[in-house]
Symmetry: C2
Subunit: 160 residues, 2 copies
Amino acid sequence: MPKEIERKFIVDTTQLPKLSNGDHYTQGYIDPERATMRVRITPKGCVLTFKSKEGGTTRSEYEFPVDEATGRALLEDLGRKPFIDKTRVRHDVDGKTWEIDTFYGDNEGLVMAEVELDSEDETITIPEWAVKEVTNDARYYNANLSQRPYSTFAKERTSQ
Amino acid sequence: MPKEIERKFIVDTTQLPKLSNGDHYTQGYIDPERATMRVRITPKGCVLTFKSKEGGTTRSEYEFPVDEATGRALLEDLGRKPFIDKTRVRHDVDGKTWEIDTFYGDNEGLVMAEVELDSEDETITIPEWAVKEVTNDARYYNANLSQRPYSTFAKERTSQ
């Protein structure tokens, strides 16, 4: 686990030697009320993703490919457990690529498909195997499935 | 602002065509109770940093150099305002490099120096201009200075 060991002091500038002007830094902190921070590890590498929490079809999303070893260490150290464990396969339907996720662990039994649109009102072919839309159902956000997995809403499933 | 427009569906696997096995994904979400997520933009580029919130000299820290345009957009969109605005200059004292930060905006008047140690019990030379240690004072964490800036604790300062 990478550790930062540091000490901090208030500076009396009247006692400071003459120094160069230094570099300008702008920095801020992501608001956890408004964003989720995801670490995803796939066979192609590690990606950090920030998504806005606003619901519905359109959400802000920022992706950063990062060093896998560091990403994995971050996830183990500061990630909420359990993690989401799934396989993803891509499948084209009438010119659109669907991503079909099969979940494991506490989300065993859940298979979910996503399709990315070019605009909110784009008309697409919904294949017959896509049986129930859950775009606006926050329970099915991966962030929520890791904390309240599919196994906990089995009753609701059977009544659908 | 990059937007993700997507629709999600539950899949009935009995109706799905035969597909390949897919790629394995492990993913999780950083716990905002335990970590702060910083975006820092400097003349040398943009860095995302995750730090554990535990106090004291030693904290976990994970750094990822990332694309600057995307990092800046993320900060503007999902960062807590106001941001921290400062200049940083490096200065060596007896073989250790000190980073001296001069703050602007609501933190105008604050000049703070940090030195990184190799171990918690390392003995270092404290220069005469480093007049007051604040390593364990959470008010001086940059994450807190952006929300409760130095200008708000002026009274405490004068009584020190």
